[in-house]
């Protein structure tokens, strides 16, 4: 009955089998994938019966100053397993990442929040507006350089 967390190695192997070279790195709990392939990997993880990650727990962004990590926590209700994949985006200005809105509707508000507070623009999201702050607010307050 207990949850089975997928290790980063397993996940990276599975992703690389489907999309060779997309998973670039892994550690104990998570695998890093190329940011431009987020949408394809997400759709694969959700729809392949072997993984069946129907449930997106959370989308987070972490500011490491030189780069940003997007962290996706997934759960499969049928397999009772969980997985974490990340995507590393370098740079500070004009950041873009593909949206997983069309895969998991649950990403809607979280992606908007990341755009609002971290400044990563999700492409393919139908309503990419600020969510907590008002339109016209300058800067993205959750970044490390925002004081």
């Amino acid at each position: 009955m207990a949850m089975r967390p997928l290790s980063g190695e397993e996940l990276a192997k599975a992703v690389n089998q489907e999309f060779p070279g997309v998973a670039v790195d892994y550690d104990e709990v998570s695998a890093w994938i190329r940011p431009n392939r987020i949408h394809a990997v997400a759709a694969f993880l959700k729809d392949s019966p072997a993984h069946d990650f129907q449930f997106l727990n959370s989308v987070s962004a972490v500011d490491y100053v030189e780069y940003f990590d997007l962290v996706y926590h997934l759960t499969s209700l049928k397999q009772q397993s969980s997985a974490v994949f990340k995507a590393r985006i370098y740079g500070r200005e004009d950041l873009k990442a593909p949206s997983v809105y069309s895969v998991w509707r649950g990403a809607d508000f979280q992606e908007r929040e990341i755009w609002d507070l971290m400044g990563i623009h999700f492409e393919g999201h139908p309503n990419m507006k600020r969510i907590m702050l008002w339109e016209g607010f300058e800067g993205h307050p959750l970044r490390k350089d925002f004081l």
């Binding site: 009955m1 209700l77 049928k78 009772q80």
Partner: protein, 407 residues
């Protein structure tokens, strides 16, 4: 020189009026006495409605408090009785606000138009033997006609406020008021038929057996219909505070709001008084010669308490359900009542056209059975419309977890 009221005057039966008229008439010309006596009585009625409204606001809050495990207003005066005064002072000292873009004249007219019909309605209600201002021989018709003015006032409020919630409230209120007028009128027809009169005084005297026993169906329909006309729970869609803030009176504040509240709570009192007169036997009771007013007040109080009880207990219906309830349930019930009562009156009435006490008792027995059957039948019919058909759920079940399901 003393004045004598002509015995064919509609005011002749009114003891208080005649007394004032004759006393004043001793020293002043008759037409002045006529006016003064009228003003005195009007003063009594206006204050009865407004003070009644004040007492009901207090009473409602206290009783609701008891229903809800809390205290209610208890600070100002004994048992918090002066709370309405404090509220009124607060409201009177507020700024006179009128929303931008509102229709000034219509907006200001509304509070007046809300209160006026209530005071008019009390004119025909006998508070004790021979105390109705005008024992009109078309009293019931008068009440129904005057009470419809309220729906116009509500629509004016919603229209002139320039507020979308107010418009919602007004549209809902008018829809509800118009649909509930019909069952109410039909239920009152039965009462009029048994009493063989439209005068409220005569109806009281005809109640050798209170009419809520003789025509339980009419009483139920009347109470439900009046709850809706007063915008009270469970039919309070017009001012559903959880949905449309305060409905048609969202934009009213200060003294206008005070008047609208007075109209609302005064309405409860007036409707309760009318219901007590028509169905509970009004002022009749032991020693009604002297204690008529007390019986009247007690019966009115019981009805008011019923209204408060409804409010404390029931959730609100949705607008379409309210309409369905009126057209598919109350209207047929009122019709059944009308048909049954017509037949009974036709068959039981003696040659002199009067129903005796025994006749009323027989009617009560028959009508009780009819009530139970009619409610059961129409209740079942309407149930088919509102029962939700259970869907076959497509379960996404995690194995090994013990679950319990909705029955």
């Amino acid at each position: 020189m003393s004045c004598q009221l002509a015995s064919d005057s509609i005011l002749y039966a009114n003891g208080i009026y005649r007394l004032v008229y004759e006393i004043v008439g001793v020293v002043l010309p008759c037409w002045v006495a006529y006016a003064i006596a009228g003003l005195v009585f009007a003063f009594i009625l206006v204050n009865a409605v407004l003070l009644g409204a004040a007492v009901i606001t207090w009473g409602e809050r206290r009783v609701l408090g008891r229903f809800q495990n809390r205290v209610g207003p208890n600070r100002w005066g004994p048992f918090g009785l002066f709370q309405p005064v404090a509220d009124l002072v607060k409201l009177l000292t507020k700024e006179d606000l009128r929303p931008e873009g509102s229709d000034r004249v219509v907006f200001s007219l509304v509070p007046v138009l809300m209160v006026a019909p209530l005071i008019l309605m009390t004119a025909v209600v006998p508070f004790a033997r021979n105390t109705a201002l005008a024992s009109l021989n078309v009293g019931v018709l008068f009440i129904l006609a005057v009470s419809s003015i309220t729906s116009v006032a509500i629509f004016m409020a919603g229209w002139s406020s320039n507020n979308r919630y107010a418009m919602f409230g007004a549209a809902r209120a008018v829809a509800v008021l118009i649909s509930y007028e019909i069952p109410v009128v039909l239920s009152l027809l039965g009462v009029v038929m048994v009493a063989a009169s439209m005068s409220l005084g005569t109806i009281v005297e005809a109640q050798a057996l209170p009419f809520f026993l003789v025509q339980p169906l009419a009483f139920l329909v009347f109470m439900a219909g009046m709850s809706a006309e007063l915008n009270r729970s469970p039919f309070d869609v017009a001012e559903a505070e959880s949905e449309i803030i305060a409905g048609y009176h969202t934009e009213y504040s200060g003294v206008r709001f005070a008047l609208i509240q007075a109209a609302e709570f005064g309405g409860v009192g007036v409707v309760a008084a009318i219901a007590a007169t028509l169905f509970l036997g009004g002022w009749s009771g032991p020693w009604s010669e002297y204690l008529g007013w007390l019986w009247f007040l007690i019966k009115t109080g019981i009805i008011v308490f019923l209204f408060i009880w409804f409010r404390a207990t029931y959730p609100r219906l949705r607008i379409d359900q309210i309409m369905a309830f009126s057209w598919k349930f109350l209207l047929p019930l009122a019709m059944v009542n009308l048909v049954v009562v017509t037949l009974e009156v036709f068959l039981l009435r003696g040659d002199d056209g009067v129903l005796t006490h025994t006749d009323l008792a027989i009617m009560a027995a028959i009508n009780l059975a009819v009530t139970v059957i009619a409610i059961a039948v129409f209740g079942n019919l309407i149930k088919d419309r509102v029962t939700f058909r259970t869907r076959q759920p497509q379960q996404v079940v995690v194995p090994g977890v013990s679950t319990i399901e909705v029955s």
